[in-house]
């Protein structure tokens, strides 16, 4: 019973974080490689900053928590940025300024605010990872749809027979909004169905 409420709370949290991350989700979901790269960056940044912040939460004065959180997140994002520039330059090129902008994204920040309130470190890690993976899942789903249907390619390799049928608008700006809206609606519907079922069996 206790577990059930916990998990539903964290699901709710992830869902409320989604609009805040809509920007980078749409920016990086035109290509599967970019989506996975951004996903990895989000998971790492959220997770690492959550760990550090929850470890430091006792010595961070509450009035100055905002700049401190943001600087910690920025630090990790910069380090991730450097690693990705070294090992995945193509992905960094695709993401452009959005990778750096993750530093001031509300997602890791709100996540940090949430975890700082909790006491058990394992839940902190769990929440952070859940948030990161949810975003990655959404980005990958959007990217699959947008890259395959919009660009007739997957992982940068073009799919010949789809070439003539591609809907190039999907890989553009509007496609970002449209596909994210649909993916989110579908995920929510599935999620609602499974939770009502669970409650029913309880």
């Amino acid at each position: 019973m206790k577990n059930a409420t916990k998990s539903s709370i964290s699901h709710k949290e992830a869902a409320y974080l989604l609009p805040l991350g809509a920007g980078f989700v749409m920016a990086s979901s035109a290509d599967l490689r970019a989506a996975l790269g951004m996903g990895a960056a989000v998971i790492l940044a959220t997770f690492l900053s959550a760990v550090v912040i929850s470890a430091l939460r006792k010595i961070i004065p509450s009035r100055a928590h905002l700049p401190i959180y943001i600087l910690i997140i920025t630090g990790f994002v910069s380090l991730i940025d450097m690693m990705m520039q070294a090992y995945f330059p193509n992905v960094v090129n695709m993401l452009g300024v959005h990778l750096a902008a993750l530093a001031v994204s509300a997602v890791p920040y709100r996540n940090a605010e949430d975890v700082a309130g909790e006491n058990v470190e394992t839940t902190t890690i769990k929440t952070a990872l859940e948030t990161g993976f949810l975003f990655t899942l959404i980005m990958v789903l959007c990217a699959l749809i947008r890259e395959v249907l919009g660009n007739a390619s997957i992982w940068g390799v073009s799919i010949e027979f789809l070439k003539d049928y591609r809907v190039s608008a999907l890989s553009g700006v509007f496609g970002g909004y449209l596909v994210l809206a649909i993916v989110f609606a579908v995920i929510r519907t599935i999620h609602d169905k499974t939770t009502t079922k669970k409650e029913g069996t309880d």
Binding site: G21, A22, L71, V104, A181
Partner: protein
């Protein structure tokens, strides 16, 4: 800079260079916006000031100091943004809190400001500052439009799965589509 260039930059800030809708920077802050139009205008104005002041500082910082240490750019820019926001907060604390109880600091630190500062380093100084102002105005306008839009969406007539975020995204998408024509 001729009048043409100035006008062009200002117009682009509103239309083709709309950060929140077309560049996906600060989109979250806009889509999530449920403030009243007045409050939206206020925080938008605040962000515009942050954008201009940050650009004023980050441009020379990048051009003269950070050339050889590119990896420190994000960190340095974020520190500048934090300082600028803190300063504005200090000066206008009373006013801000009287008008709206939003946590201005939380709002003003967003991807649009950082992205703008980074993009602006590639322009000339004057153009960069002007672009910052133009983008800020565009951002404010988008924010205000969205606050109105939020209140106009009739949630009842939207299919259940699309209520909330999806329908907001579609609205934003259609606005983006209109702007893409420029």
């Amino acid at each position: 800079m001729t009048a043409d260039v100035i006008f062009g930059i200002l117009l682009a800030g509103l239309l083709s260079n709309n950060y929140a809708l077309l560049h996906f920077l600060g989109t979250g802050a806009v889509i999530e916006n449920e403030r009243s139009t007045k409050k939206s205008l206020l925080v938008g104005l605040g962000s515009t000031i942050v954008m201009v002041l940050s650009t004023l500082i980050t441009w020379p910082l990048q051009t003269y100091l950070l050339k050889d240490v590119p990896y420190l750019r994000t960190m340095a820019f974020v520190i500048v943004m934090l300082l600028v926001v803190e300063l504005i907060h200090l000066f206008a604390k009373k006013k801000l809190e009287a008008y709206c109880k939003v946590d201005f600091m939380k709002f003003a630190i967003n991807g649009a400001v950082l992205g703008l500062c980074i993009h602006n380093t590639e322009l000339a100084y004057g153009e960069a500052v002007l672009t910052a102002a133009a983008v800020g105005i565009g951002f404010t306008l988008t924010l205000a439009i969205f606050s109105k839009l939020h209140s106009r969406i009739d949630e009842e007539s939207v299919p259940k799965a699309f209520r909330g975020l999806p329908v907001c995204l579609l609205c934003a998408g259609m606005m983006a589509l209109a702007l893409l024509a420029f």
